[in-house]
C-alpha cells in the first residue's frame, strides 16, 4: 500500500483551474505527478457520465476544479457542476466506491499555489483510501507481468 501511486483525473475549467495549473508550473511549484488534467471549457460541462467513465477507465480518484463561486466565466457553470458532483458521489457509492474518491474544488486562475495544494491534498487522500476496488485485479495482473 505504501508504494501505491494513485491515478487521479482532474477535470479543470479553462478559465480558472487550468490557468492555475499553468501558473503553478510557471512558479516552479511542485505537485504530485499523479494528476491527469482534462481541460473543460467550464466546470459546468461535467456530467455524471464523464466522472463515472473516469473511474471506469481506472482512475483511483477524480476531482472537478471550477471557478470560485460567483466568479464563473459563464455565470453559473460551477454551480451546475457542484450538485452534479454530489449526485455522482451517490452513484459511485452505489457501485461500492468511497464517495471521498470524488470531489469538487473552487479556485481562481491566480491561485497557482492553491492548485498545487489541492493536488497534494487530494493525492494524499486517495493514497490513504488505497487503490480503487475496480483496479485491484488489474494491478495484480501488472505485478504478475
Amino acid at each position: 500500500m505504501e508504494d501505491f501511486e494513485p491515478t487521479i483525473v482532474a477535470f479543470c475549467c479553462h478559465y480558472c483551474a487550468y490557468g492555475a495549473a499553468d501558473l503553478a508550473g510557471s512558479m516552479r511549484l511542485e505537485y504530485p505527478t499523479n494528476i491527469r488534467i482534462i481541460r473543460l471549457p467550464c466546470s459546468g460541462k461535467v456530467t455524471p457520465v464523464f466522472l463515472l467513465r473516469a473511474f471506469e477507465k481506472g482512475a483511483d480518484g477524480v476531482y472537478v476544479a471550477g471557478c470560485l463561486e460567483g466568479d464563473c466565466h459563464f455565470i453559473h457553470g460551477n454551480l451546475v457542476a457542484k450538485p452534479r458532483v454530489n449526485y455522482t458521489k451517490k452513484l459511485i457509492q452505489e457501485v461500492g466506491l468511497e464517495p471521498e474518491r470524488l470531489e469538487m474544488f473552487n479556485m481562481s486562475a491566480a491561485m497557482g499555489p492553491r492548485f498545487a495544494e489541492v493536488a497534494k491534498e487530494f493525492t494524499e487522500r486517495i493514497r490513504q483510501l488505497g487503490p480503487s476496488p475496480l483496479n485491484k485485479k488489474k494491478r495484480k495482473t501488472n505485478e504478475a507481468a
Binding site: L52, F55, E94, L134
Partner: protein, 222 residues
Amino acid sequence: MVIGKRKPFEEILKMIEPYKKIMVLGCGGCVTVCLTGGHDEVRVLSSQLRMARDKDGNQLEIIEKTIERQCDPEYLDQVQDLVPQVEAVLSMACGAGVQFMAERYQATPVFPALDTTFVGGSLKEGYYVERCQTCGQCKLAYTGGICPIARCSKSLLNGPCGGSTNGKCEIDPEVDCAWQLIIDRLTNLGMMDKYEQILDIVDWRTNRDGGPRKMIREDFQR
C-alpha cells in the same frame, strides 16, 4: 408526460445477475425529458453496472442504445439486429415501453430499470409533479383547469373536506389543497357558478376499474 424513477441500484443488479451480456435500452420519449431513462441515463447506469460487476470479478458486457420511443413497434425494429446478440434487455422506458419490448422480442427476457410513477409535468428542471390520473373523464372544464381527481388526496369532486387548512392538505403541509386552488382560480376568473354545479358520481370504469383500456382511431385502421 409519463414520469419514471430509477429502481434502486441493488434491485437492478440482482435482475441481471445471471447474464454476461445485456443491452441497456433507453427511450427518447417521456423518460428522456424527466431525466430518468434517456441517452445520458443509459450511459450512467451502464457505467455503474459494469463497475459493480467488475469489482466482483464478474465482468458484464453492455450494448448501450437509445431509440426514439419504446411504445411504438416501428422504433422497436431498430434494435432487431442487436437483441439476438444479448442474453437480456434492461429497458429504461416506462412500463408501457418495457411491455412493448417484451412483446416484440419473445425470445429475450426484458427487465425494467425504472418504476413508472405518474403522469405529470416539470415545475422546473429536475422537479416533477403529478397532474393527471388518466381517469378517462376529464373534469377540468368544471374545476378551473385544476384536477381534483389527481390533486385532491381524496379525489373529491364537490368541494374540499374538513382537512383543508390554510390552503394545505392534511396529509402533508407541503401539499396544496386542490379545492382551495380550484376555488381561488374560479373566483379570479369570475366563474364561481361552476362550483355550484354538482358533479355526478364518477363512473370509474373509464379509469382502471373497467380493465385495460384502448383507444382506436378508426380512420387509421387498415
